[in-house]
């Protein structure tokens, strides 16, 4: 193999073209080798079911009998005839629009708190993380009681301390989603998102903080000019996955309210689930799922594009 000069990256003219392309080829081959676990798994396990679900979206299919082709009927039905399609979408975006910003900011604040080296940090960290360790069903049942309109502690406080008539939470279509939002925030702020922020914070080099301190920067200036830029990759990560996760909200609504009352928490994922596994409209559910997936892809693509303006990778 030709000797590549480190300073100029160029080879003696004759061997240049052959040597560089060989090294480039090796680079590409290695890349695909490293990707192979995912590539192989994707093709073998995921690709076919995904393509099948796309196919089924143009059929009516109930699992136990052969599917019947119906063309774009499912898509038309969703956009024009399904009474719950647009409302579901709206509710899902409402939920995500509140949960994601509050959740990301909340997790970051908690992580910053825990990053301070005080005594017993490991205990505090574990406390904050506990809601994520209790299975969703248990915490949801607990939350439903906390927000019980008549005997739950939250309303007791609102009544006796603040002397107001409190909302009836999961009994009231207007207050059901805020109730769920509070449940989600409580169980997820101290959870994996916070852990990821912690890991990101730990990755910020000490020297940068020292340099800033020498320049006389206070803690807010240090946060704004050192911490924030350095953790933008982590924020970006949490934002993207936060949006994807929030738009797919399902379990809490399923357990707490079964989509009610009066469709109040009938999120899009619930719409898909019910059509797929309760009504066995698998074809229609597939159409719903694909429309949603395309929407999320578009949203994520947008976020990826925008990320080039604000995310700073230390390694580039």
């Amino acid at each position: 193999m030709g000797q590549v000069s480190v300073e100029t990256g160029r080879l003696p003219a004759v061997a240049a073209r052959r040597g560089i392309s060989r090294q480039r080829r090796r680079h590409v081959i290695e890349a695909y080798l490293y990707m192979s676990p995912w590539l192989v798994g994707f093709v073998a396990l995921t690709l076919v079911p995904v393509l099948l679900s796309l196919y089924y979206s143009f059929t009516t299919y109930d699992i136990i009998s052969p599917e019947k082709w119906v063309g774009i009927n499912n898509y038309v039905k969703a956009l024009t005839q399904d009474q719950q399609f647009w409302p579901s979408l709206a509710k899902t975006f409402y939920y995500a629009g509140v949960t994601v910003p509050l959740g990301v900011v909340g997790s970051l604040v908690l992580a910053l708190f825990l990053n301070i080296r005080v005594r017993g940090t490991s205990v505090y960290r574990t406390f904050f993380f506990m809601p994520s360790l209790v299975p969703v069903v248990a915490s949801t049942v607990l939350w439903v009681w906390l927000l019980d309109p008549d005997w739950g502690p939250v309303n007791e406080v609102l009544r006796n301390v603040f002397n107001v008539t409190p909302p009836r939470w999961f009994q009231d279509p207007t207050w059901a989603i805020p109730g769920l939002i509070s449940l989600t925030l409580w169980t997820s702020i101290g959870g994996t998102r916070m852990i990821i922020f912690l890991a990101g914070l730990q990755g910020v080099p000490e020297e940068l903080y020292d340099a800033a301190a020498i320049d006389g920067a206070g803690w807010w200036a240090r946060f704004r000019s050192v911490t924030l830029p350095m953790i933008t990759p982590t924020i970006y990560f949490n934002l993207i996955l936060g949006v994807i996760g929030a738009l797919q909200v399902f379990t809490s609504a399923f357990v707490a309210t079964s989509g009610g009352p009066a469709y109040a928490t009938w999120f899009y994922a619930l719409l898909v689930y019910n059509n797929a596994f309760q009504y066995f409209n698998m074809g229609y559910a597939s159409a719903l799922a694909w429309m949603f997936a395309l929407l999320i892809v578009a949203l994520t693509g947008l976020q990826v594009r925008l990320s080039r303006t604000w995310v700073y990778y230390g390694g580039e």
Binding site: I63, I64, P149, P166, P173, A176, G259, G260, F280
Partner: protein, 483 residues
């Protein structure tokens, strides 16, 4: 650097050794698990635990059968698979299997539990997937009350058993007739009754509250016991606190399609819908919905869904809920939930009689089916009988945790001597079946009613608009094509 090197090596060894272990475990699955299961029996010491241990050993040895059965492919040993979510977590399935195996040497059976995540409805996707991939068992249940019966039968998942019934001269009269009728579709019989009760056709009420308030307990045989009387009773028993809180709810109704059916029938109509048509806007059906609306929005005496979830019996036992529309099952549950008889004592009443002399009801029931994929339908048929005979059905109630009130001959058992249960007996003979949507979309219909009706009784829409919306939604589902 040295530190990182050693820890990395340690991690490497761990990582390397583990997949090998997992490989071993996954391959040697059956053998290894049988091993663990039998070592389980050494641990427990209490009486209750030893019966569970005996059950585990039994299950362990029957779980070991597949290996030997598949090994001796041509052996006379027949092995049945029983897929269900019923009785999971109780000793009932293992007891039934033992009884069957004792009576049928040469045949073994294995239960494959389906631990449903949230509701019993969730078992069906798995069962359909198993059918589609050819692995559904010999005996299972597509319950009529879950509507899937009406999908599974036409699609060929279930084997009709009329030939066995006539050949063996099996006496269907050993069951209450309504539950036998439930097993029939298109002129054939598709299973034997499993669980069943007459639905939420009555009320349980807290005697202590009635005594405290000085109100006479309901006499459900008297002509004064009308729907209006029930409404007034609920209103009298409701106590409000400050700032919108309730100290006590008067009544909890079953606010869904089944409930609506019962109220419509209480007002002497057949039901609020027909197989292809919604009758909600019929002026003769309106009083049923008006009755609910009055209690919910005018009197505000109803405990509405969305509070302390699924715990109406807990509310009842704590004296916070005076009356619950319920059936015999709820009477049992409430009884078991009561800790302090000074706070709550349960008694029952029924809905007023209709003009035809029967009480309104909306029966719920299940089935045990023989699958069309079964290679041993004969043995499966015997197994179904074993689940359904006197002992099977009785223990289904007493230890299996189900309400299986399908046989007259078990009613004399002391388990049913609960006074609060007695009133429901009369409805078992005259239980009214559900109207089945012609397109088989029962679940969709049920959920649509639940969600859409809520807008009315939660006061989010005025009554006329709300009922119209409900009618349109129900008609929409009933008009859809069959799948």
């Amino acid at each position: 650097m040295h530190h990182t090197a050693t820890s990395r090596r340690a991690i490497l060894t761990l990582l390397a050794g583990v997949p090998a272990l997992a490989l071993l475990a996954a391959c040697g699955g059956t053998a290894a698990t049988t091993q663990t299961a039998s070592s389980q029996t050494a641990a427990p010491t209490s009486v209750a635990a030893s019966s569970a241990a005996a059950a585990t050993t039994q299950a362990a040895s029957s779980a070991a059968q597949p290996t030997s059965a598949s090994a001796n492919a041509q052996a006379a040993n027949v092995h049945l698979y029983w897929d269900t979510f019923r009785g999971v977590g109780t000793p009932w399935p293992d007891q039934r299997i033992k009884a069957f195996q004792d009576a049928n040497p040469g045949v073994t059976a294995e239960m494959r539990p389906i631990p449903t995540p949230q509701s019993q409805q969730d078992a069906y996707p798995k069962m359909y997937a198993m059918y589609a991939s050819g692995t559904l068992g010999d005996v299972f249940a597509f319950d009529p009350s879950h509507w899937e019966f009406y999908r599974a039968v036409p699609k060929g998942l279930i084997r009709a058993i009329d030939d066995y019934i006539s050949r063996d001269r099996f006496d269907l009269a050993q069951f209450y007739p309504p539950f036998v009728e439930m097993q029939k579709l298109n002129g054939k019989t598709w299973g034997l009754p499993s669980w069943g009760w007459s639905g939420q056709d009555g009320f349980i009420y807290n005697q202590v509250i009635f005594q405290q308030e000085g109100i006479a307990e309901p006499d459900y045989n008297s002509p004064q016991w009308t729907m209006d009387a029930i409404r007034q009773l609920a209103q009298k028993l409701t106590k409000m606190g400050s700032n919108g809180a309730y100290d006590r709810y008067g009544m909890e109704l079953a606010l869904g399609a089944a409930g609506a059916s019962v109220y419509t029938r209480a007002y002497n109509q057949p039901d609020f819908y027909e197989p292809t048509k919604s009758d909600i806007l019929d002026p003769k059906v309106q009083p049923a919905f008006q009755w609910v609306q009055n209690m919910a929005q005018v009197d505000k005496s109803l405990a509405l869904p969305g509070g302390f979830q699924g715990a109406d019996t807990a509310l009842f036992a704590s004296g916070k809920l005076a009356i619950i529309q319920s059936g015999s099952l709820t009477a049992f549950n409430a009884f078991k939930a009561i800790k302090d008889p000074k706070v709550a004592v349960v008694a029952s009443a029924l809905f007023p009689k209709r003009t035809d002399g029967n009480r309104p009801s909306h029966m719920r029931g299940g089935t045990w089916n023989v699958g069309t994929l079964s290679k041993n339908p004969e043995a499966a048929w015997k197994f179904v009988q074993n689940l359904d005979n006197h002992d099977g059905t009785l223990t289904f109630n007493t230890i299996g945790g189900n309400g299986a009130l399908v046989r007259p001959d078990i009613m004399s058992d002391s388990y049913f001597s609960l006074p609060a249960f007695k009133p429901y007996l009369e409805n078992l003979l005259t239980a009214m079946p559900a109207v089945v949507p012609a397109n088989g979309r029962g679940t969709e219909f049920e959920q649509t009613v639940s969600q859409t009706w809520a807008e009315s009784y939660l006061g989010k829409a005025n009554f006329q608009d709300g009922i119209k919306k409900l009618n349109d939604a129900v008609q929409g589902v009933l008009s859809e094509a069959a799948q």
